[in-house]
Subunit: 326 residues, 2 copies
DNA sequence: ATGAAAGCGCTAACAG
DNA sequence: CTGTTAGCGCTTTCAT
């Protein structure tokens, strides 16, 4: 059997309530506290979080819901969350919903009762579904905004603008854009960024929507080559990697024939050939801030008050972008 | 306040114990059960797992400890675990220890008290440390074997043999091997596989140990080019990707000048240029089986009995391996 | 500053 | 088959 407060109390010659106070910071005489702490340590006492949660109403755990851990973007988010959780001694339940919106809602329903809060990465579900399933008081949406819920997002509009400005500065005037899932928040933000350049001295060529995956990028490769563009901005890095792959297979040298810019700056971006220029979004920081919001540790802001945090994006220039062909 | 058994009992006009029985499968009259279930559903009742765990002694949760979620290998493992966990309605606490052996041991200490069992990916910590920190009764080691603990591993020795045989069949006679962390179980297994070929008609050229990362592979690239090898087997896919990158930069065409074979077959393997031939290890299946072991769902085997599962490996041939230069 | 006692929500005896 | 009762381990009144 595990050691309980009872054991510690007996060994220290005090009552259980004194042990509890000594360990959680109640008013106890310094001498008593020291003695209790020593005994607790000697016995290897670890409070039973479930029992504590039963009475305090707080579990000390929170839930993280992501569509796919294999996607490096969400791996980064999870990394940020777990790192911060470890620092504040908070448990993290993870739920990989395998891109299934139904599983997503189920996960919300399960976790909201067994945690102090939920960090939710949900690119697919509809706004109304989320609003119906989630408790605004202790849910923080990551990398998506839904009115009525707290959220931590990156400034996608500005990031998109930076990417285009970079290409324009290099001399590009016709830039293809490979879009992702229609009707998603992330897609709309990117389009809003592109709309900034309307009526300017450059042309944005929409190539259509593809799956936000490597295969989606491969598919887009041929479409891009058929367009009169000298550069292409991809929905995300995975799509950009697929593009790079297909362009290489078709003999189109990057960036000589075509410049390629990705989005998200996942860890793979530096490993591609050539290394990928990409808009960097603070994935791990978003996760950490979301956690702080949930735990009321983010200064004055809390999830309960409907916080909306926007983090800056920065363009990371690597070798996949250069001057257009002469 | 959340709805409790009390609420359900009152609304259904029965006692709390009847509600409990009706919902957990005790002996209740069909009519009563139906009524209770209906009321519970109508009230949106969700049992408080903490309270249940307090009395049953089982939390319904388990812990997964990995060194780095960003590493696609562990992302795959986590994916396998969470998928199976969802199927059996079991919560998963995740702990990313950031490659820090101390954090690893801390995570074990924390989780072993708050879960029904631990799935442990620990390539770095020493055998003795693990034995001291972990409870053999409900710990399953993933992708590593330590006498005294249950484990689920892949047949690395055989996988290594398959890789070398593939290269030999292509005509290679001098094969470089880029090793990973010295003194790790995975490294020893690979070396054991290579030792199989001693005194054969081919030569294995050890290139030394590098970090099991992309950068480690980049580093190894030049060393490999300086060796009289026509093929190289890398410690893992990340190293192989780094190798590919460096070889391309040095103008060495793969597989014309040099064949490259990776290990693990992570999702990136198909995205490299050229796509990487790699030894496939069942990462997600290992995770799922480990979970079953912990929950006593793996047929006759259980973690408590010290199960040792070995899963088969298969070579996946892609474009990075071919005949040696004439 | 400390102890006794009352529960948190649930399940498992124990009666009926 | 069902209701009553006693806790699981912990925190938190309420006394002292």
């Amino acid at each position: 059997m595990r050691t309980t407060v009872q054991d510690v109390a007996r060994a220290a010659g005090v009552s259980v309530s004194t042990v509890s106070r000594a360990l959680t910071g109640g008013s106890v005489s310094p001498a008593t506290r020291e003695a209790v702490v020593a005994v607790a340590h000697r016995l290897g006492y670890q409070p039973n979080r479930a029992a504590r949660g039963l009475i305090t109403g707080r579990t000390g755990n929170l839930g993280l819901i992501v569509p796919d851990l294999r996607n490096p973007f969400f791996a980064d988010v999870a990394k940020g969350v777990t790192a911060r959780a470890r620092a504040v001694d908070c448990g993290v339940f993870i739920s990989d919903t395998d891109e299934d919106p139904v599983a997503e809602l189920e996960a919300i329903a399960t976790l909201r009762h067994n945690t102090d809060g939920i960090l939710l990465c949900s690119p697919r579900a509809k706004d109304a579904e989320l609003l119906a399933a989630a408790d605004p008081q202790n849910t923080v949406l990551l990398h998506r905004r839904v009115p009525g819920l707290s959220s931590v997002v990156a400034d996608i509009v500005d990031g998109t603008r930076q990417a285009v400005q970079h290409l324009r500065a290099l001399g590009h005037r016709r830039i293809a854009y490979v879009s992702g899932p229609e009707d998603s928040w992330a897609t709309r933000q990117r389009l809003a960024g592109l709309a900034t350049f309307d009526g300017d001295d450059l042309e944005i060529l929409p190539i259509g929507s593809v799956a936000p995956t490597f295969d989606g990028g491969v598919l887009a490769g041929d479409l891009v080559l058929a367009a009169p563009a000298t550069a292409v901005l991809a929905y995300n890095d995975l799509v950009a990697m697929g593009l790079l792959h297909r362009l290489a297979a078709r003999g189109a040298v990057v960036p000589d024939r075509l410049s390629v810019v990705g989005y998200d700056d996942v860890s793979l971006a530096g490993m591609s050939h050539p290394p990928l220029t990409s808009v960097s979004v603070p994935k791990d920081r978003a996760g950490a801030i979301g956690l702080d919001l949930l735990l009321g540790r983010a200064g004055s802001m809390t999830a309960a008050q409907g916080a909306e945090v926007i983090l800056p994006t920065t363009l990371v220039v690597r070798a996949s972008s250069g001057e257009p062909p002469a």
